[in-house]
Symmetry: C2
Subunit: 295 residues, 2 copies
Amino acid sequence: MAEVLFKRLVLIGIGHIGSSIARALATVPGTVERLVICDASPAHLKRAEALGLGDEYVADPAEAVQGADGVILCTPVGSFAAIAEGIGPHLAKGCVLSDVGSTKQSVLRDVGPFVPEGVSFVPAHPMAGLEFSGPDSGVAELFKGRWCLLTPPEGAAPEAVQKVEALWQALGARTVEMTAAHHDRVVAIVSHLPHLIAFTICGTADDLADETREEVLEFAAGGFRDFTRIAASDPVMWRDIFINNKDALLEMFARFSEDAQTMARAVRWGDTAYIEDKINRSRKIRKSLIDIKQA
Amino acid sequence: MAEVLFKRLVLIGIGHIGSSIARALATVPGTVERLVICDASPAHLKRAEALGLGDEYVADPAEAVQGADGVILCTPVGSFAAIAEGIGPHLAKGCVLSDVGSTKQSVLRDVGPFVPEGVSFVPAHPMAGLEFSGPDSGVAELFKGRWCLLTPPEGAAPEAVQKVEALWQALGARTVEMTAAHHDRVVAIVSHLPHLIAFTICGTADDLADETREEVLEFAAGGFRDFTRIAASDPVMWRDIFINNKDALLEMFARFSEDAQTMARAVRWGDTAYIEDKINRSRKIRKSLIDIKQA
């Protein structure tokens, strides 16, 4: 048996990430004594029960968190404020509250005010996830070897931070701490901007004259196909991410936009040296990624 | 033994595509009686010989094409005009000249004037290729199930077109004919624009403050990692593609740019309905791709 990290852990939201946590926990029995699953959707909750993802299934978050020593918010970040307000008064002393949201300054802003005395708030962001949704889409191995970024607010209890780190390490992830502001800039460039671009280019293709659009689908080559994979993600989750990481995302987009316009200008005027230099830099980045085994 | 399509076929350029054709031909013996390999790089030519990719290895294109009934240009499209000028006077009557370039109006413009009486020019574009270069990078299965787009100029001899189609089908590809102008628009959106974007975002990331850049590499998530794969392509090949499909690429880039700016504006002003709608359309495109088995 593994070390018991939580006696009663509540997952609020049993979508792709929530159900992946549940499945991963099943591979390390004993880490959590009792897993409580909570979801606003009766269909999701019923399905989670049919799949046997937890030990208890509760619709109401305020009821679910009673007596829990661990709670993880696994819903889209746009829902965090309302959920935090609802569960805040019901959190037990000593409870560790965490989340899996992709934006961290917004989480501090939305959840922070509702965290009562004696409860530790330790935001976390597992950098993993496929383009699927719902309780059926969870994958036990999802977090293996992936990073989980922790952004504990100043003054967070070290033992609470340690518990959240230990949980993610038990699920196979590597953990690292950083500030929420720094986190938001990093994910804006590695994840949020690429998604914004992928969603956009799919729409651009979809707007082409009917004839060309069908051919876009028929002849979808390497480039476009790779873009559509990441463009197939959950609309509500990504809408919330964009809105809640607006500042960092818009800054990265502005930088990208300037660079793309400069590249377009080089194409128009035949500046071959500029184009080659940019492509060579891309290859170097790719090589660095392979070297550190992220690719 | 398969039907003999060419008695003496010359591949000019033995990089990723050329060496993939050579390897694919080895799996359908008899389709080509004698395969001649020609490359301006002595190192590539020597390596091709060491790998046994052909039956004959010739450095000079004008010499290589003597007596050939088939010639395929497999070098970057920027080199086509000079090569065509050099080999034109040496092409035998009845020879079929083709290529594998990713831009087709430029190929008609650059090669067309040098095609002598009695020689048929049938441009082709196999929609396949990995991010690797050189004679070692060829893959025999590269064209299996992929599209090869043919853009024969008006008045091309039907039997010459048929021969090129039959060759690509022998290598496992599906073939379709279209005009060069139409081809260039389709590939601009499915391939050239995604590559321009991928090269750009890698540069944008590389320009970030050193601290963040290292983290970009370390935490590269799904989005960015997928972009770097296609950004690792050959600089000279892609420089030539951009320059030679300038008009279609810049038009698609302008459309994308407007759409991306509109998305950024929706993020800034919190227009959630717009964002969700765009993401939903992306999912539909992805679903269509899966339905037609391109993804």
